[in-house]
C-alpha cells in the first residue's frame, strides 16, 4: 500500500515536471489526470512481466515518446484564454442553467409553502411543496460543483452528480420527516423515515469527502 502511494506520487511528480511552467487550464488539468491513470496502468502491466517498481517506471516513461508537441499545445492553451473559454462554454452553460433553475425551484418551494401556510395553516399541504427545495438543492449542488471558478477546476460530472444525490437524500430525509410527522401525528414514524434516507445520504457524502482529489489551482 505504501509502495503504491509512493509510486503514485512519483508518477504525479514526473507529469508535473513534464508540464512545469505551462499556464493552468482545464484541459491541462484533465490531460495530466488522463496521462497519470494510463501510465499507472502501463506500469502495472510491465511489473507483471517481473520487473521491479523502478525498472517498470523507467521503461513506461521511456516508451511514451516525445511529448514536447503535447506540452507546446498546452502552453498555447494556457496563454490563450479565449480558446479556453470556447472549450468550457458548453459545460459552463449547463452549470449556469442548473444554478438558475435550482435557485428558482428553491424559491418556488419556499413561496408556495408560505402561501399554502397562510391559506390552510401548518400541515401536510403546506409542507408538501417543500419537495421543490429537495429538487432545487440537488440541482444547485451539482451545478455549483461542475463550474470552473477562479480558484478551482470543475469537478467531474459523476462525482458532482453523487454529491447532488447525497444532498438530495439529506434534504429529502428532512422533508419526509416533517411530512410523516404531520401526516401520522406520530414522532417515531417520522424518525424512522428520516433515518433511512439520512443514513444513505451521509454514507455517500462521507465516501465522496474521503476520496476526492485536489481541484484547486496553484
Amino acid at each position: 500500500m505504501n509502495n503504491e502511494i509512493s509510486q503514485k506520487n512519483k508518477i504525479d511528480e514526473y507529469i508535473n515536471h513534464l508540464f512545469a511552467g505551462v499556464g493552468a487550464s482545464q484541459q491541462l488539468f484533465e490531460l495530466k489526470e488522463e496521462l497519470a491513470v494510463n501510465l499507472r496502468e502501463k506500469i502495472q502491466d510491465i511489473k507483471a512481466r517481473g520487473l521491479n517498481d523502478e525498472e517498470a517506471f523507467r521503461e513506461a516513461v521511456a516508451s511514451m515518446g516525445d511529448l514536447s508537441g503535447l506540452v507546446e499545445d498546452m502552453r498555447r492553451l494556457g496563454q490563450d484564454t479565449a480558446r479556453q473559454s470556447v472549450y468550457t462554454s458548453m459545460k459552463a452553460r449547463i452549470s449556469t442553467a442548473g444554478i438558475v433553475i435550482g435557485s428558482m425551484l428553491i424559491l418556488f418551494g419556499l413561496f408556495s409553502a408560505l402561501m399554502l401556510y397562510f391559506m390552510a395553516g401548518f400541515g401536510v399541504a403546506s409542507l408538501g411543496n417543500l419537495i421543490f427545495l429537495v429538487a432545487g438543492g440537488t440541482l444547485l449542488t451539482y451545478s455549483v460543483l461542475t463550474r470552473e471558478t477562479m480558484h478551482k477546476y470543475a469537478m467531474n460530472t459523476i462525482r458532482a452528480a453523487l454529491y447532488g444525490l447525497s444532498v438530495g437524500l439529506l434534504l429529502f430525509s428532512i422533508f419526509t420527516g416533517f411530512v410523516t410527522r404531520y401526516a401520522t401525528g406520530e414522532m417515531f414514524i417520522a424518525v424512522a423515515s428520516v433515518m433511512v434516507f439520512f443514513i444513505a445520504g451521509v454514507g455517500i457524502l462521507l465516501t465522496l469527502l474521503l476520496t476526492g482529489s485536489d481541484r484547486s489551482k496553484q
Partner: protein, 116 residues
C-alpha cells in the same frame, strides 16, 4: 528495423487507426495503445505522445468525443467515443486507402511489359 513497420509509412494514418478501434467500441488511452500493438501483431507501437496529440486533434474536429469513466476513486479513465461524423470520416479514409494501395502496388511492383 527488427520486424517493426517504418513510422514514416504509417504517420498519415494515425487518425484512421484510432477511428478504426473506436468504431468498434469506446476505449481509453492505454487500452487503445495495447489494441494497436495487438492488431499489428506487435509490429507497430503507437507512442503515447502521438496518441494523445491525435486525441486532441480528433476531438477538435468533432470526430470523437471524450467522457470520464465512472470510477469514483482517485483514478478515473478518460474514454473516447466515435461520432457520426467520425464514422463517415473513417469510411472515406478506408476507401481512399484501398484505392491508394492498389495504385501504389502497381507503381512500386508493376512491370512495364505486362500484357493485359
Amino acid at each position: 528495423m527488427g520486424g517493426k513497420i517504418s513510422t514514416d509509412l504509417i504517420r498519415g494514418h494515425t487518425d484512421t487507426i484510432i477511428l478504426n478501434i473506436l468504431r468498434q467500441g469506446d476505449s481509453y488511452g492505454y487500452e487503445i495503445y495495447k489494441t494497436v500493438l495487438t492488431l499489428s501483431g506487435q509490429r507497430y507501437e503507437l507512442k503515447e505522445a502521438t496518441l494523445y496529440s491525435a486525441f486532441r486533434r480528433l476531438e477538435q474536429d468533432e470526430l470523437i468525443v471524450s467522457y470520464w469513466g465512472d470510477e469514483t476513486q482517485g483514478s478515473r479513465r478518460k474514454y473516447y467515443r466515435i461520432t457520426a461524423k467520425g464514422k463517415d470520416h473513417y469510411e472515406q479514409n478506408r476507401k481512399d486507402w484501398v484505392f491508394a494501395r492498389e495504385v501504389l502496388d502497381k507503381l512500386i511492383q508493376g512491370g512495364l511489359n505486362s500484357d493485359e
